[in-house]
Symmetry: C2
């Protein structure tokens, strides 16, 4: 069994990005600039935006954080997005979700210029991804593909089972892996809460991607010997063995499944650390005009 | 075995649409208006556009056909699309493909206002479909879903195998059938040229959707007793039994597979006649402002 070390890979990629930014600076090129909007004071949102800001600074990007109170009007937020859309120094715009209930998240997402939509949530980027055109792919599926690449895991002709059909993980990763591409060409089955014979289906898979948010759901009896296991779940549970009184669990019962797997991602330290890296990669691509022509 | 009679269902739906248009006329409402652009004189394109025009007139829609010669400049075509985008009487715009090589099809598709994109080819409509928002679904997948509805075929929890991963059939139908919706909730496996154990995978399916374009590929030994078979393929082959010297074949070896199937679409007369109906339905939805707010 080989551990897929997302922490190590993400540090490595950050280092690669930092080197590229160094070269950009030497050549007096455009330094990538990410703008994040945060509304209110939700603890988790603050943490995420903090991590993203820190990661930008680590690799030498410019970073702007725009803060609004919870009672901000939707119009004001839309105007801010429009201002960032028009600001030619900004390469990427993200709006930390969730937003307060009086604001339509979808409306805000669709107001971001698709060329700066480095979260890859705009329908136009999702649609372009589906038909195989250059697009910003959202953080988690992009991070999974990156791990598969870096560990040289063969996907062509393999049977992949994805558990969970969310818009941000299950659906996009199932599309990406089935596509005609170097890290695609897999035969993908997308399973979900209505799937009847899940255990049987999963037991046939060469690669299992679990994104349900149900702690330790996937057990050893469900998986084939030698399968590749990608665990996207992350659930916080009480623990009397940690200082904090909490620990993080994935969707996979790691201790037992790791004994049968050929490759497996741990939680934490697997897919998680890759998501910020995907965001940095998308922002760099935007600054370089790799997805869309430079604005 | 019950035959899924696309010809009958499509006539029925056209009749329903015609009745609705009658009511719209009585109430002096907006009569749906479809504009089709055709470039050059390709025989097949002429036929398709002719059928679409005829169908519009049958149900009482207004229809405009714009013709250009093969040597039209891309800019001229873009200007025409823009003019139709701005024309508030036009509810739907389609550009008959293929276009001459000097014109970028993708550029033309993306120039159509997504609110008038009744072919459902614009990335924004594909993306909205993927995340479950109201959108125009393209003709073939929409037609398949309509047949499933009209024949009350249960999809929830069923194992569906789609053969062929094209942008206009395989990918969208696999997404639609796996979605949380009344005619979705299936466990879908998307197979393609790189799939290794196709026969084994297909043999487990409750519903098989074949969209490969390979005449009589699917044989009786591949399918489960009682499976539902949807045949999207259509290939013209020489025949000494028809007056024309040609006959049309689907991707399914109909004679033998029909003996094992619970439901099966014939070729011709199955999915084919449904595609024009989907286009009419999308144009009607546009005129009524059902997908997007009225322009």
């Amino acid at each position: 069994m080989e551990l897929i070390d997302g922490k190590k890979i993400s540090s490595q990629i950050k280092e690669e990005i930092a080197q590229e930014v160094e070269k950009i600076k030497e050549n007096e090129g455009k330094i990538p600039h990410l703008a994040a909007i945060i509304v209110g004071h939700d603890g988790a949102s603050e943490t995420y935006v903090g991590h993203k800001e820190k990661a930008c600074l680590q690799v030498g990007f410019n970073s702007t954080v725009v803060r609004f109170e919870n009672d901000i009007a939707e119009d004001t937020l839309l105007r801010k997005v429009d201002e960032l859309n028009k600001n030619t120094d900004i390469d990427g715009i993200i709006v930390q979700l969730p937003l307060p209930k009086h604001i339509s998240e979808q409306k805000i997402i669709e107001s971001i210029d698709p060329r700066k939509d480095v979260d890859g949530f705009h329908p136009i980027n999702i649609g372009r991804m589906v038909i195989g055109l250059p697009s910003y792919v959202s953080a988690t599926p992009a991070g999974i593909v990156e791990l598969i690449k870096r560990y040289n895991i063969e996907t062509s002709g393999k049977d992949v089972v994805v558990i969970g059909r969310s818009n941000i993980v299950g659906k996009p990763i199932s599309i990406l892996l089935s596509q005609k591409s170097e890290y695609g060409n897999a035969t993908v089955t997308l399973t979900h809460s209505r799937t009847k014979n899940l255990k049987e289906i999963v037991s046939r898979a060469d690669i299992v991607i679990v994104a349900m948010g149900q702690a330790e759901f996937l057990t050893a009896d469900m998986v084939k010997e030698g399968a590749v296991i990608i665990d996207v779940g992350i659930t916080r549970v009480k623990s009397d063995k940690t200082k904090s009184g909490w620990k993080l669990l994935g969707d996979v019962k790691f201790d037992e499944v790791s004994k049968k797997a050929s490759y497996i991602t741990p939680v934490p330290g697997g897919v998680g650390p890759m998501t910020i890296v995907s965001l940095l990669q998308n922002t760099l691509k935007s600054a370089k005009g790799e997805i869309y022509a430079k604005i």
